[in-house]
């Protein structure tokens, strides 16, 4: 019987939960195969240096070392990767562009031998001028980090790329409308703010790793990749193979948060396997992972003009991002930062200019929020400072300017599918906004809107098996967000079957249908829609088969609640329809669901991922430590298919936002990373949990996704930085100009005679 009630809208337990609490869950790092070798990268000790030679003899003499590879050994391959610009070398070519860059790969029988071998490799360098930061990279006579042009990674992104470079500017964007100069000339008040967002390490706890084999059968990789299909595309280019001969699998991921988007260590493992003819595993520890990817830092200056009532008449943003050594996803992060910095406000005149600049630091790429946290910090702090100057309550100022539901944030894009004023009221109520703060305490709020979901391309298959159970095939990846559970809930509901009989099989480019990415909070919406369509396709096939079985016209047959209804003969369970049609007691039916930019998904973005958050903080005046007394978040998700999973995403995202706001920063000194480990790079610990937490969910059915759903997972992170900065400013009477607000930095702000890092108001 299939008459179980609703599978959606309920906090059903995670389908992967039991395996995760018993230790049975298999992550990429747990995969081993017979005859496997271990690869360890030799990493550059220099930030910018020509490689004069690499001595491998001592390494090859280490017992157990099988091979030492450098870029010179890759002459028969395409030695770079990159989905936008294929500029990222598998191992440094001729020069190294950041400290920690792989310059050689030691492959050995054991991980210990590989490490010993790596220690024995001698690299001779000639130092080049180190472009440690944006300022030095922008000097008129600065050497070029990338003097040559590279092929485009993916033709779809061609517009976004300039590969003829005369300087170290990696990408530029501009957008806007109206007449900004006139609006400023006529303004009743103007406010200017500069805010600096730190470089961040996402620290997904399972460090990047990949196990590769390269045989006559093709390339086969098990990896921590969020987007296995994109990694497949890079590997196919490297080896000159058709896509069909490259198989990339991503089992459960030990965290992702965007930081496992795109290619990372897979090429290293694959070239090791190609060179030795044996499977090679490259498994980084966290200290090596820090040298793999990071989030862009940004310095953003914003000027806003207001009329006498406090309405925004113009905003003008200048964004400068430090994008590190290679392109990776920096182009899109900058583009998204430009779209997201000015906020969900009615802005009659807007100008945004952005530049991302190459420097000799770890290459930056995607991280949760994707340009939004950087831009939002500046934009929202600016509004808070304006509220102070104009004598208007910060929430009232926001509500006066917010785009109403259905209104336009970006011309030509989807209208706002959210009600931010109501969300903000929820935050205000939870924080008791109207209660005045006592000494050394402060409250801050923030809102954000991200054009989320990426490009709508998704495919799914739903296989109804001959016992009536269901396999859902998807190329999306389970990294902790709970997609396996949510996608099963959507399919169970659509087909009217018990969720215990639905299994989701994911992220294997050799057997899963295509999925463009797993990121931008897109899975519930886009994959969910693909699965709903696949379910309907399966049902219509079952109806046709039942009609044929019964000898009636297909139009007369319907399906409902897990049964196929045939007039005159009654209701048939799926399994019976299938077995009868095939006539052999077996068989199965596959439904296919395709999602592209059409119909309800014609307008981009597929949904706006909005955020509305607030914090109440108190400062220890002796140490500067910022205690979060109360965190309030609203997940404006349209419809929560699994409310507990939504709350989990919201609190997790907000906590990562608090990390960047209060503790986290990769600190460079002339190109040398000063804190490349988790003692010195401090992430939120259990003792940092806010004293009180209100995670609220707003369900207004205003999303385009299944049952009115929108995505979740970033919205509660994006405005946290600005909210914390404003709360701290109100607690101490001084505006910070950068994150993180470490105790030392806050103490310095409170004791300005000794300090910097802020402006007295």
């Amino acid at each position: 019987m299939n008459s179980q009630s609703e599978s959606i809208g309920a906090s059903l337990p995670r389908s992967d939960g039991r395996s995760k609490v018993t230790g049975a869950a298999r992550y990429a790092v747990d995969h081993v195969v017979p005859d496997m070798l271990h690869g360890v990268a030799v990493r550059s000790t220099r930030a910018h240096a020509a490689i004069d030679g690499i001595g491998t003899d001592d390494a090859l003499a280490v017992p157990g070392v099988v091979a030492v590879l450098t870029s010179e050994d890759l002459a028969d391959l395409f030695p770079r990767y990159g989905h936008l610009v294929a500029d990222h070398p598998i191992m440094a070519i001729e020069k190294t562009n950041y400290m920690g860059e792989p310059v050689a790969l030691v492959v050995a029988e054991t991980i210990h031998a590989a490490h010993d071998g790596a220690d024995a490799v001698v690299v001779r360098y000639t130092d080049l001028p180190v472009l440690a930061d944006v300022a030095s990279a922008m000097e008129p006579d600065a050497p070029l980090i990338h003097p040559t042009a590279y092929p485009v990674g993916d033709a779809a992104f061609e517009e976004a790329i300039t590969d003829e470079r005369e300087d170290n500017v990696a990408h530029e964007v501009s957008l806007g409308w109206g007449d900004v100069e006139s609006a400023f000339a006529e303004a009743a008040a103007t406010v200017e703010t500069t805010a600096q967002y730190p470089k961040l390490y996402a620290y997904a706890m399972e460090p990047y790793n990949a196990l590769a084999s390269v045989t006559d059968d093709g390339v086969d990789v098990v990896t921590t990749a969020q987007h296995p299909f994109m990694v497949r595309d890079d590997l196919a280019r490297i080896f000159g193979e058709p896509l069909s001969r490259v198989r990339v699998r991503s089992p459960l991921l030990g965290g992702g948060y965007g930081s496992k988007s795109y290619t990372k260590v897979e090429p290293l493992a694959a070239v090791g396997a190609w060179a030795t003819g044996r499977p090679v595993k490259v498994a980084l520890n966290a200290e090596e992972a820090i040298f793999t990817t990071r989030a862009d830092s940004a310095v953003i200056t914003v000027r806003s003009a207001f009329d006498a009532e406090g309405r925004i008449t113009a905003r003008d943003f200048d964004i400068v991002m430090d994008t590190g050594a290679y392109t990776d996803n920096g182009t899109l992060v900058l583009a998204k930062c430009a779209n997201r910095c000015f906020g969900p406000y009615n802005i009659p005149n807007l100008r945004v200019r952005g530049r991302a600049v190459f420097t000799n630091t770890v290459s930056s790429s995607s991280y949760r929020g994707f340009g939004a946290p950087q831009g939002n910090l500046a934009g929202e702090m600016n509004l808070d400072q304006a509220a102070e100057k104009l004598g208007i309550d910060p929430i009232e100022l926001r509500k006066l300017n917010l785009v109403a539901p259905g209104g336009t944030i970006l011309p030509g894009k989807r209208g706002l599918d959210a009600d931010l004023a109501s969300d903000l009221d929820m935050v205000s109520e939870a924080l008791e906004w109207d209660t005045p703060d006592s000494e050394f305490t402060g409250t801050g709020v923030g809102v954000s809107a991200s054009d989320a979901g990426a490009y709508p391309v998704s495919t799914a298959q739903v296989r109804v098996l001959f016992d009536g159970s269901v396999l859902v095939m998807s190329g999306s990846t389970e990294m902790g967000q709970g997609s396996r559970t949510v996608l099963a809930q959507i399919a169970a509901q659509e087909l009217g079957v018990d969720i215990a009989r639905v299994k989701v099989v994911q992220s294997d480019t050799g057997s899963s249908p295509y999925e463009r990415t797993t990121g931008a909070s897109r899975t519930t919406v886009l994959v969910g829609l693909a699965i709903m369509r696949a379910c309907r396709d399966a049902l219509s096939k079952l109806e046709e088969m039942a009609a044929e079985n019964a000898g009636v016209a297909a139009a007369e047959v319907k399906s409902a609640e897990g049964m196929i209804l045939v007039p005159g003969t009654g209701s048939w369970p799926y399994d019976q329809v299938i077995r009868e049609w095939f006539g052999a007691g077996s068989g199965e039916v596959t439904g296919v669901g395709l999602v592209r930019r059409a119909g309800e998904l014609e307008l981009l973005p597929p949904f706006w991922e909005v955020g509305a958050v607030g914090v109440k903080v108190s400062i220890d005046p002796d140490t500067g430590y910022v205690n979060v007394n109360h965190l309030a978040t609203v997940g404006d998700v349209g419809f929560a298919i699994n409310p507990a999973l939504v709350e989990g995403q919201d609190l997790g995202a907000a906590t990562q936002g608090l990390g960047a706001a209060l503790f986290e920063e990769l600190i460079y000194d002339n190109g040398q990373l000063e804190n490349p480990n988790l003692v010195d790079y401090r992430v939120p610990k259990i003792g940092d949990v806010p004293d009180e937490i209100s995670t609220m969910i707003a369900e207004r059915g205003d999303g385009v996704g299944p049952h009115g759903a929108k995505g979740a997972g970033e919205g509660t992170l994006n405005p946290i930085g600005g909210a914390v900065a404003a709360a701290v400013a109100r607690a101490i009477g001084t505006w910070p100009d950068r994150l993180p607000l470490t105790p030392e930095r806050v103490w310095t702000l409170m004791n300005p005679e000794t300090g910097k890092n802020g402006t007295k108001n």
């Binding site: 995670r14 939960g17 039991r18 018993t22 230790g23 747990d30 399972e206 030990g254 200290e287 997790g652």
Partner: protein, 158 residues
């Protein structure tokens, strides 16, 4: 490669054999015994994902040596359930959605098991203090604290 003989009991099963002298306990448990529920991440005793119990005492398997397990009784995450029957903590972690990606979960479960063993009624401050050496990047920790409290309450109810 120098090897040492060890005799140890892991999750109730006796192991006698030689291990490489430089193997960490984590390498021995994961690579030799195939018990991959114990994870490693920071490999410098700050993240807690590698926590195991050695004679009931929590130890970081990333820095302890395999040879340190000689004549000791070891419990890993795989040893917490009683057959198919989850421990109260494991069940509470499920019920409170305390595992997302799950990579930190083994470490938290092992540590919390030791906590409830020595202190069956911890306050939330005591839970926080005891788990200060374990990092989770997904959950924001609150569900983990709640799960430990729930397990303690349920044990009371029995």
């Amino acid at each position: 490669m120098a090897r040492v003989e060890i005799n140890t009991v892991v999750n109730g099963y006796a192991y006698s054999g030689s291990v490489q002298s430089r193997w960490t306990a984590a390498e021995f448990i994961r690579d030799e015994l195939g018990l991959t529920g114990t994870k490693t991440s920071c490999e410098m005793e700050v993240c807690g994902v590698c926590s195991i119990l050695v004679d009931g005492v929590p130890v970081s398997a990333c820095t302890a040596l395999a040879s340190d397990l000689d004549n000791k009784s070891v419990v890993t995450v795989e040893g917490l359930a009683d057959g198919d029957e989850l421990s109260a903590l494991q069940q509470a972690f499920l019920d409170r959605f305390a595992a997302q990606c799950g990579f930190c979960t083994s470490g938290f479960l092992v540590m919390a098991t030791a906590l409830l063993e020595s202190n069956p009624h911890p306050t939330s401050e005591e839970i926080t203090h005891y788990l200060e050496g374990n990092i989770c990047r997904c959950t924001g920790y609150r569900p983990i604290i709640e799960a430990v409290q729930l397990a303690a309450e349920r044990a009371d109810g029995e």
